[in-house]
């Protein structure tokens, strides 16, 4: 890998995206805590900030947190891959600020306007009403512009430099569906089954296909930095993982089609491919253990390395194990849409993506600051965030099982059964425990934010010492 020893404009933009992602993660955590409070005390903040709005803030900032972190990671990693700064970076810099302003305006509209009449104007100005992509159309157009610029930055640089590696090929091919699928956010379809059918294309194919490939590319590039793994190895492994993940993940979309009015054959297809989804994740775990063993846990960037390991295990347990519990149609009939699904969603998102993007945050920030002395604060963040998350998903699992048992299996999904299930001690205590562990997670976020802001700055390291360290970045102004 060609190593740029100066921070390029693309990398500076990447860091800006990463810090913006950190801010969004903070909003995500605060909104999550408010929602957890509302489960414990349903009148909390009502009607000023109802649960429906808090939930939108929570899940939409989660999507944007990850999307911005991905974009930041790519802007950070690709200049070294191409041996050149990315083309069109000035436009990307402007669009970054436009995007930040748009996110702020949308958040203000969600919080203070909340909803409008059932007409086109509301779709354009207030809320599109589809989960995860509620942003009004004008803001969605802005996201399309940012993603379009992002694609241009990468493809344009590849054409200009004529230096395309295996990882960048995979990345560029992945950008087509990443960009194209978002366009599904726009149409207003009145048939709810048809609407859900295509909406799942956006949500599922982003989350279980294009994002998986994207994080695969990011981790592949990161591995070359963190463990100095050879390019041939990471590229070969990337091809295999992409084939396996797409092989099981694409038709795994069927598990979203069980109960939305789709043809019955989706039950067989969805159940079959979903059941296979843990297998490639097991391969990732083996790979992570092999890398850890091969390098005897020694690396130039321990925080990034530990977060990378957490990603492999979190993805397997959160996506594989938690998903397999509820993915077969006979079980899913009762469990879907309960806190059990929320438990799986939290664990899978955290394992598959959250840990991966924090890994890249540490990689980029430590390289930027040329830090070799990192202290122990990152360990606290690691422990509190992962401990808090595991506690939360455990609590949600208990509440979700109670809902499934009392509301769905015994009560037959009536409204009365729904209310009965909400009143059971298992459900209520689960909600309290979720709030407690949410606070632990929030504390972890605080420590993480503090660590990322100050790591490498708390202890001054002589420049000469940094220069002798492998992976230490020293500005010399040349491409090596």
């Amino acid at each position: 890998m060609a190593s740029l020893s100066v921070t390029t404009r693309s990398q500076q933009l990447g860091l800006r995206y990463i810090f913006a992602a950190m801010v969004l993660m903070g909003i995500l955590v605060v909104a999550g805590l408010l929602a957890a409070m509302q489960y414990v005390n349903p009148t909390f903040l009502f009607p000023i900030l109802p649960f429906s709005i808090v939930k939108i803030l929570h899940i939409d900032t989660m999507i944007l947190f990850l999307l911005l972190a991905f974009i930041g990671a790519i802007y950070w990693l690709l200049p070294e891959e191409f041996g050149s700064d990315l083309v069109g970076i000035r436009v990307a810099e402007v669009l970054f600020w436009v995007l930040c302003a748009a996110i702020a305006v949308v958040a203000v509209v969600f919080i203070f306007v909340q909803y409008g009449s059932a007409n086109e104007a509301s779709l354009w100005l207030i809320n599109q009403g589809r989960k995860y992509v509620e942003a009004p159309r004008w803001a969605a157009l802005g996201i399309v512009a940012v993603l379009g610029c992002f694609v241009w930055n990468i493809v344009g640089t590849a054409i200009k430099t004529r230096r395309v590696s295996g990882v960048t090929w995979v990345l560029m091919l992945d950008l087509i569906p990443l960009f194209g699928l978002y366009l599904i956010a726009f149409p207003a379809v009145t048939n709810v089954s048809v609407d859900q059918f295509w909406w799942w294309w956006l949500v599922h194919f982003w989350v279980e296909a294009t994002w998986e490939v994207l994080i695969g590319c990011i981790i592949a590039l990161s591995l070359m930095h963190i463990l100095q793994t050879k390019r041939s190895i990471v590229e070969t492994w990337l091809y295999i993982e992409v084939a396996l993940v797409l092989g099981t993940g694409v038709l795994g979309i069927g598990h979203h089609y069980f109960w939305i009015g789709s043809p019955k054959y989706w039950m067989g297809i969805g159940g079959f491919f979903s059941a296979l989804e843990p297998l490639p994740l097991l391969g990732m775990v083996i790979h992570a253990i092999y890398d850890a063993g091969e390098h005897r846990m020694t690396t130039t960037n321990r925080p990034a390395f530990y977060w990378m390991l957490a990603e492999a295990f979190g993805n397997f347990i959160g996506g594989g194990m938690w998903g397999f519990m509820i993915t077969l149609p006979q079980i899913n009939l009762y469990a879907h849409g309960t806190q059990w699904t929320a438990s799986h969603g939290h664990f899978a998102f955290w394992g598959a993506y959250g840990c991966g993007v924090i890994c890249v945050m540490y990689l980029a920030i430590l390289k930027k600051r040329g830090a070799t002395t990192i202290g122990n604060t990152w360990k606290w963040a690691f422990g509190l965030l992962n401990g808090g998350l595991v506690g939360m998903v455990g609590a949600l699992l208990v509440s979700g099982m109670a809902q499934t048992f009392y509301e769905r299996a015994i009560g037959g999904s009536t409204f009365n059964a729904y209310i009965t299930a909400q009143g059971t001690p298992w459900f209520i205590e689960g909600m309290y425990m979720r709030l407690f562990f949410g606070l632990v997670f929030a504390a972890g976020y605080g420590v993480l934010a503090w660590d990322l802001l100050t790591i490498g700055r708390r202890v001054q390291v002589p420049v000469a010492e940094i220069a002798t360290q492998p992976g230490g970045a020293v500005a010399r102004g040349t491409y090596e």
Partner: protein
């Protein structure tokens, strides 16, 4: 239809099944990389437990026969994925 009790038991068994498959793979890889027999023995114990869980799902739960058959085939896959993956990784790194 599935009874409320059978629902929770079946799904818990399915979760345990995947967890044990992961534990088997993890311990198998650790045993091979660190040349520790204790890990390898634990790995085998996890796989045996996974077989037991599979047997329980097949014999004692109301899942449809096709899902049970899928579970049996998956158990074979779990048995070979760690060794194939590790062997491939070693060959890849040796080159």
């Amino acid at each position: 239809m599935i009874s409320p009790q059978a629902l929770l038991i079946t799904s818990s068994l399915l979760g345990a099944y995947v967890f044990l498959g992961g534990a088997f793979g993890t311990l198998y890889a650790l045993g091979r990389i660190q040349s520790r027999r204790a890990y390898s023995r634990l790995a085998i114990a996890c796989y045996v437990l996974q077989l037991v869980v599979m047997g329980a799902v097949v014999t004692a739960t109301p899942l449809a026969p096709n899902w049970k058959a899928l579970l049996v085939v998956s158990t074979c896959a779990y048995a070979i994925i760690p060794s194939i993956t590790l062997r491939y990784l070693m060959r890849l790194h040796a080159h």
